[in-house]
């Protein structure tokens, strides 16, 4: 055998060895990665949240991209800018957050108004002599109202504090007499549910020991909260590290890619980046439209502009988590609708006493508008996902991971769809498959 043939043979053997080595190494790495991901699955969500925040932060960082300024200073300047904006936003928002006195007043007014509406409803249903309605009121709504009253009931400390505020306390003027009357009426409210007839010796359905077993102890709750807090500390850390990254992470991962797939991986990463960017912009636009629709609707219903904007902003921002924005808008809007007085609607013919019902209808309308117009056409077009897929993904996400599943359902679909489509297209274009 000549030297040349010997060399070729050795090279061929070396290639086979190299392939076996790479394959074994890749398999072991995959198993190890799978094991780690499974064991550390609690960290995945904070990491994703931190990474998404860093992604959103990137345009701000780009604004501070000045040639003569070192990269670290550019990032620090953008952090300071964001911090200042958040500080002012929080400060402005804080002024609209009700203080202790307003919270107590809100509770008293809400309890009074809810009971007033309930009593009006009971009176109407009794007049109608409709047996099914009367039985529904007695069997279902009565206990429900009792539960609401129990939830809104002032604690002894809160009662004392409310009475102090009624007389003027902590440098604040006395609360209106009307609300004191509401407070007295609330105190006099009795239970609506008809007590069930029970045998004298009947026991509680749940033995106290069993209940104690189900209830976590305060120490357990504290530990769980502590671990959650420490896990979520990762999100800002990831955000800061990714914020300071100047392409090193991308370079590192591209460096691992074999030469054959180098340009392909650059293209796929770029398309993914673009798709996530379009999704985030689409979501922002959707949130803005939901917030705007709610604000305009509430103003038309006669709710003061400041309150309408506050509800619209809260619901719009939380709309990034599908359905949560609606729930928030419903709770705050209907709550406000129940306690609001002297409301003058801009739409003629509306009964101000039914404001809560109108708010409910408005929130449902905005929800329908979001589901059938904003989400499919604003978000759907931004990420090129069929509206039906958007709806199925949100429901599927909710079934798999609850609230977080709903939040990350569409981004996951976008990433998978873009990655698969680009990957196959480019693999064919590069004649790899």
């Amino acid at each position: 055998m000549s030297n040349g043939q010997n060399f070729e043979e050795k090279e061929r053997e070396r290639k086979v060895r190299r392939k076996v080595f790479y394959l074994t190494f890749a398999t072991l790495a995959l198993i190890a990665a799978g094991f780690l991901i499974w064991k550390l699955r609690g960290l995945i969500l904070p990491i994703i949240v931190g990474a998404l925040l860093a992604f959103l932060f990137r345009p701000v960082k780009d604004r501070f991209n000045v040639r003569w300024l070192p990269h670290e200073l550019q990032v620090l300047s953008s952090f300071v800018a964001i911090g200042l904006v958040l500080f002012f936003a929080f400060n402005t928002l804080r002024k609209h957050i009700p203080d202790e006195e307003q919270k107590l007043e809100f509770k008293v007014r809400l309890t009074y108004k809810l009971n007033e509406k309930y009593r009006q409803f009971v009176a109407k249903s009794a007049e109608g002599k409709s047996n099914p309605v009367t039985s529904l009121v007695d069997n279902e709504l009565g206990p429900l109202m009792d539960k609401i009253n129990q939830a809104l009931k002032l604690t002894p400390e809160e009662r004392d504090l409310f009475l102090k505020y009624c007389a003027g306390y902590n440098g604040k003027p006395p609360i209106e007499n009307k609300f004191y009357d509401y407070f007295r009426a609330n105190q006099a409210t009795t239970k609506y549910a008809i007590p069930e007839k029970t045998s004298p010796g009947a026991m509680s359905p749940t033995p106290p020991i069993a209940a104690a077993q189900v209830q976590p102890t305060a120490a357990e709750e504290g530990t769980s909260l502590e671990s959650k807090v420490s896990t979520w500390m990762l999100a800002p850390l990831i955000f800061v590290f990714l914020g300071f990254d100047n392409g090193q992470i991308r370079r590192f991962f591209i460096g691992l890619v074999p030469n054959r797939y180098f340009e392909l991986s650059l293209t796929v990463l770029d398309r993914l980046d673009d798709a996530i960017g379009r999704y985030l912009r689409g979501t922002l636009m959707e949130c803005f439209l939901v917030g705007l629709s709610l604000t305009l609707g509430l103003i038309l219903l006669g709710i003061p502009a400041g309150v309408a904007v506050a509800i619209g902003v809260a619901a719009g921002l939380l709309n990034a988590i599908p359905y949560l924005g609606t729930v928030i808008a419903l709770v705050i809007g209907v709550g406000y609708g129940l306690i609001a007085e002297n409301i003058k609607s801009l739409i003629p013919g509306l009964n101000p006493n039914d404001l809560a019902l109108y708010v409910l209808i408005l929130v449902v309308l905005v929800r329908v508008l979001d589901d059938f117009v904003f989400q499919p056409f604003v978000l759907g077009s931004a990420v090129n996902v069929h509206p039906l897929v958007v709806v199925i993904a949100v429901i599927g996400g909710a079934l798999i991971m609850g609230l977080w599943g709903m939040l990350f359902a569409i981004p996951t679909v976008v990433v998978i769809k873009t990655a698969v489509a680009t990957f196959f297209k480019e693999l064919k274009a590069y004649r790899i498959i």
Binding site: R67, R251, N259, E263, L266, T267, D270, Y430
Partner: protein, 128 residues
């Protein structure tokens, strides 16, 4: 910029593939070739300091030739979208790169024109 190392005879890119990056040679020799059914035409052999694949920076048309390492070569790759980003972040640097590209493409067009003219003049020599 991404540093890539290619072994002897390894292909950097092939004719017809979509191009996404320009390559600057740090070390080694790179051959630019065109493969046809029965023959291979070597267009150029590039060495340290030269760059190739520049058309990928301008559009997404497929590579017009194949680049192959004649010996172990180290290159720096500049991705098209990174250059696009550079236009906003460092316009002066981006301008210099585009200017070099324009000059090089102009030079190549001039040589191609000369070649075409030479060919035309050879073909139109009157038969005696």
């Amino acid at each position: 910029m991404f540093e890539r190392t290619y072994e002897t005879d390894e292909l950097i890119f092939e004719e017809g593939q979509p191009g996404a990056a320009l390559f600057l040679i740090l070390d080694g020799k790179i051959a630019i070739e065109i493969y046809r059914e029965s023959s291979t035409t070597r267009l150029a052999v590039l060495e340290r300091g030269a760059f190739f694949g520049e058309m990928a920076l301008l559009d997404e048309t497929p590579r017009s030739a194949t680049a192959r390492a004649l010996e172990r070569a180290r290159t720096l790759a500049l991705y098209r979208n990174d250059l696009n980003g550079l236009v906003y972040r460092h316009p002066r640097t981006a301008c210099r790169i585009y200017r070099s590209l324009a000059t090089m493409i102009g030079d190549r067009l001039r040589s191609t024109n000369e070649l075409v003219q030479m060919k035309i003049s050879v073909e139109t020599v009157p038969l005696e």
